[in-house]
Symmetry: C2
Subunit: 465 residues, 2 copies
C-alpha cells in the first residue's frame, strides 16, 4: 500500500470481493459483499431522509435531448459525458434520448406541471437509482461509467427555506459519513469554478484518503430560481401573486465506498467500521473436527445473533486461511473458539483495526462484544481524524504550497483572493484543486497565496480523486 | 368502472397520485404514494429472499450487443424491444449497447468467470433495478417502456436443485401476493409457447382482474443447462469432472401494482390491503376548529403510532374532501374524532372495503384497530377469491369456450392435447391465451377443447393484460 497505492486499491477491491469489472468500459458489477455494505449505508441515509420529511420516488431513466438542453449551464456541464439512445428495436428514434447523468431536468419538468400553489410546497423528493456518465478514465467506485446513488430534489417557497434544506442535507451527509462510516469530513462551500453545473452554490463534504488525496464525498446544491426560470416552475403565493420556486438537489453515491476503502484499509485489506459492517463478528472454530467444537460455536452464534451481526465459518478450510479472508474483508472482530477455550469457558476476540487479542469469558461476551465494536468504531474515526489533521498544512505563498505537496500531499489551508484566475493557476502549477471554502473560517494570512493581493477567504486545497 | 374499466384504471392511477406520465413514450414517474406501496412490497420480498439465502448485487445497465446474442432463443425474444445506446458523448461506439431488457446474459458472463468448483455453488443472487423494453402500446404499471423489478439469477450443481429453486421462488411469490397483497393466484407452468425466451420451462402465478382479464403476476424460470452451454459455465464436481451448471431466474415487477389496483379497486378508487398500505389508518378530525379537537387527535395519533401505520390530516380542508381523498387512495381505515366523540371517549372507524362504520371506545382502540385491519385484509382476499372462482368456468368444446368469453370473460378451464397448433388457433379465434398448466390437475374431459383429440392436460385460458 505504501509502494503503490493505486495497485493496492485495485487489488483490495477485487480480493475483498467488492466488485468485478463489467463488460462495458468503466462499468462495475457490485458483488454481494460490496452491495451489502452499500445497502447498510443506504438504509441509514434513507431513514434520515424519511425522518426529515422526504419521500422516495422513481423517475425515468431517459431524458429527451430537448429537455436536457433547457438549462444552459447544466447541459454544458453534462452533455460531453452523456450516453445516447438512438434506436428502439429496429426503429430510429425521432429524438435522441440521454441516459440520465443526473435528473434535475426530469424533476423540473414534473414540478412545472405539479406545483400550483404555496400549498403544494415544499416538495421533498428523493430517488435511489443508477446514472450514467461516459467517463474516459474509470476506476471502480471512484469514477465509473454507471454508478448508484441517491439524488434528492426539492422545491421551496422561499430562498431561505431552500438554503436551510441545502445545509440540512449536507449535515445529514456529514453526520452519516462521520458517525457510521467513521470518516471525518471538512464541510464547506465549493468555489464557483467547482460548483455543480446550474447551481447558485454547492456545499460539499470532503474527506482525506490514506495517500493524502482528497475525495469529494457528498454534495448539496442550492439552485436559487435558475432552473425554475428555465422550466417555468411557479406557484401562487398567499396573496395570489405568481412566484418562482427555489430549488435544491443533493447526492451521495457509491463513490463513498472508495473512501471507505482508502481511509480505513491497510496492508491486510479492508477495514469496515462496525456500524455499517454486514458482518460485525465472524466466529472461526479452532480444531473444529474435535468433539463439541462445532456444536459450541453454533450455539455461540445463536446466543449472539440478536446482539450483533454475527456469522460463523464452519467450512473445511484451515483457520489461518479463514483469518486471512476475514481480515481482507475487514470484518471488525474475529471470534476464535477451540477446545481449550471451551474448557476455560472463554473465547478469543481479535480486533481487525489493531490486531489486538483479548480473552473474554463467555458470561461477559454479551456485554464485552458490543462494547468492543464501539471501541473499534471510535478508534477508526479517531485514527482517520488524526491522519487528516496531521496531513493538513498551512501555506502562505506558492513556494510553501509546492513544498507541502511534494513532501506529503494532504490538505493545504491557504488564503484566496476570490479570483478564478488564481484558482486556475494553482491547479496548473500544482495539480491541486480547491476542495472547499470551509464553514469554519480562519484568517491565516492577509494576502492571497497565489497573487499576493488582498485575501477574501480561507480555502482548503488538495490533489483529489 | 363497470362502463369503461380501462378509463377507470387510468383515472385511478392519476387521481390516487400513483404515477404521472414521463416525457418519453411509455415511461412513468412513480410518485411518492405509488413508490411507498412498491417499497412495502419490495421490503417483504427482500426479507424472504434473504431468509432463503439470497444476496443482493448490482449488475450493469448496459449489455454489449455481441453478449446479448450468445443465446439464440433469448436474443430472438428480446432484440425487437431493445433500446440501443450508440454514442458516448460525441463519440460513436464501436459496438452498440443494449439497455438491459433483462440481465440473464450479464449474470451468465459473470458466472462463467466466477464459478470454478462445486464449492462455489449454489450462487443465489438477486438484484432490484430498472429494465427497458421498447413497447409499442403502453399503460402505467401494466406495460411500460421502463419498469422496476427484482430479478433473481441462480446457478446450481444439479438439475434437481435448480428445480427446487424454481419452485421455491414461485412459492414465495404466491405467498407474498396472497398474504400481503390479498390477491389469490393460480400456480402452474407456462406452455412452451408462452415460456421465457431461453428457458426449459417457466412457472407462473396468474391473477384475475375485476374485469375478468388475467394478469401474469410473477414468473420463475428453469434454464436447465441452456445458458450454461452458450456461455460455457462449468464447474469441477467432487470427482474432478467438468459439469455444466443448472440455472434459474425469477422476477416480479411493478406490474403487480396494476394487479393491486384492478383486483381490489372500486368506484371510489383504490383499496390497499392493510399489510402493504403505507398508511393503514388516517385520522380525520371533525370540527377541528373547536377547542381540544386537534390536541386530542394528535394525542390519539401518538398513542397509535407504534401499533399501526397511522397518520393525521389536520389541514384546513373540509372533512368531506378528506374522506374522498383517502377513499381514492384506498387507506384501509378512517378514524373520525370530533367534539361529541371526545365527550363520549370514543372514535368512529370506517372501513374502506365495505364502508361500514363502528363506534369504538378509546380504551378498546389499541386492540380493536389492529384486529379490524386484519379483518379488512382477510375480507379483501376472500372477496377476490370468490370473484376468481365465480369467474372460472369449464369448457369442453370451442362453442362453450366462445360463449363463456362473450358472456363474462374470466378463466376458462379446458383440456388441451399439448399441440401448439391448438393453442395458436384458440388465440386466433378467441383472443384468449393459455395462462398456465395448473399444478393441481383435474381431468374434466378426455379430449382437447380445440381439436377433439386425446387430451394431455388441463390448462387455464383467459384474455390477459
Amino acid at each position: 500500500m505504501e509502494d503503490d497505492f493505486s495497485q493496492w486499491y485495485t487489488d483490495v477491491v477485487k480480493q475483498a470481493e467488492l466488485v468485478d469489472y463489467g463488460q462495458v468500459r468503466g462499468t462495475m458489477i457490485i458483488r454481494p459483499y460490496g452491495f451489502a455494505i452499500w445497502e447498510n449505508i443506504r438504509d441509514v441515509l434513507d431513514k434520515k431522509f424519511k425522518e426529515t420529511g422526504h419521500t422516495n420516488v422513481a423517475f425515468p431513466l431517459f431524458i429527451p435531448e430537448s429537455l436536457l438542453q433547457k438549462e444552459k449551464d447544466h447541459v454544458e456541464g453534462f452533455a460531453p459525458e452523456v450516453a445516447w439512445v438512438t434506436h428502439g428495436g429496429d426503429e430510429e428514434l425521432v429524438e435522441r434520448l440521454a441516459v440520465r447523468p443526473t435528473s434535475e431536468v426530469l424533476f423540473c419538468d414534473y414540478y412545472s406541471k405539479n406545483i400550483h400553489s404555496y400549498r403544494d410546497l415544499p416538495k421533498l423528493y428523493n430517488q435511489w437509482g443508477n446514472v450514467v456518465r461516459w467517463e474516459k478514465t474509470t476506476r471502480p467506485f471512484l469514477r465509473s461509467s454507471e454508478f448508484h446513488w441517491q439524488e434528492g430534489h426539492t422545491a421551496h417557497a422561499t430562498d431561505e427555506e431552500a438554503s436551510q434544506e441545502t445545509e440540512r442535507m449536507l449535515s445529514i451527509y456529514a453526520d452519516v459519513v462521520e458517525k457510521y462510516l467513521a470518516i471525518p469530513v471538512l464541510k464547506g462551500r465549493k468555489t464557483d469554478k467547482e460548483k455543480f453545473a446550474g447551481a447558485k452554490y454547492t456545499l460539499t463534504i470532503e474527506s482525506l484518503m490514506h495517500d493524502g488525496k482528497a475525495l469529494q464525498s457528498g454534495t448539496s446544491h442550492h439552485f436559487g430560481t435558475g432552473f425554475a426560470e428555465a422550466f417555468d416552475i411557479t406557484y401562487l403565493d398567499e396573496n395570489g401573486d405568481s412566484q418562482y420556486v427555489h430549488q435544491t438537489s443533493w447526492g451521495l453515491s457509491t463513490r463513498i465506498m472508495g473512501a471507505l476503502i482508502m481511509v480505513h484499509g491497510d496492508n491486510h485489506g479492508l477495514v469496515i467500521p462496525p456500524r455499517i459492517a454486514p458482518t460485525q463478528a465472524m466466529i472461526v472454530p479452532i480444531a473444529q473436527h474435535k468433539e463439541g467444537v462445532l456444536d459450541k460455536t453454533y450455539h455461540l452464534r445463536d446466543q449472539l445473533k440478536d446482539l450483533v451481526r454475527v456469522d460463523i465459518d464452519a467450512s473445511d478450510k484451515m483457520p489461518g486461511w479463514k483469518f486471512n479472508e476475514y481480515e481482507m474483508k475487514g470484518i471488525p472482530v474475529r471470534i476464535e473458539m477451540g477446545p481449550k477455550d471451551i474448557e476455560k469457558e472463554q473465547v478469543v476476540l481479535v480486533r481487525r483495526d489493531t490486531g489486538k487479542k483479548e480473552f473474554v469469558i463467555l458470561a461477559e461476551l454479551p456485554t464485552r462484544l458490543p462494547a468492543l465494536l464501539e471501541e473499534v468504531q471510535t478508534n477508526l474515526y479517531n485514527r482517520a481524524k488524526a491522519h487528516l489533521l496531521e496531513k493538513t498544512n498551512v501555506a502562505t505563498n506558492m513556494d510553501e504550497f509546492a513544498t507541502i505537496l511534494e513532501e506529503q500531499t494532504g490538505f493545504i489551508k491557504a488564503m484566496w483572493c476570490g479570483d478564478i484566475a488564481c484558482e486556475e493557476k494553482i491547479k496548473e502549477d500544482t495539480l491541486a484543486t480547491s476542495r472547499c471554502i470551509p464553514f469554519e473560517q480562519e484568517k491565516i494570512a492577509d494576502t492571497c497565496v497565489c497573487c499576493g493581493k488582498e485575501a477574501k477567504e480561507l480555502v482548503y486545497w488538495a490533489k483529489a480523486y
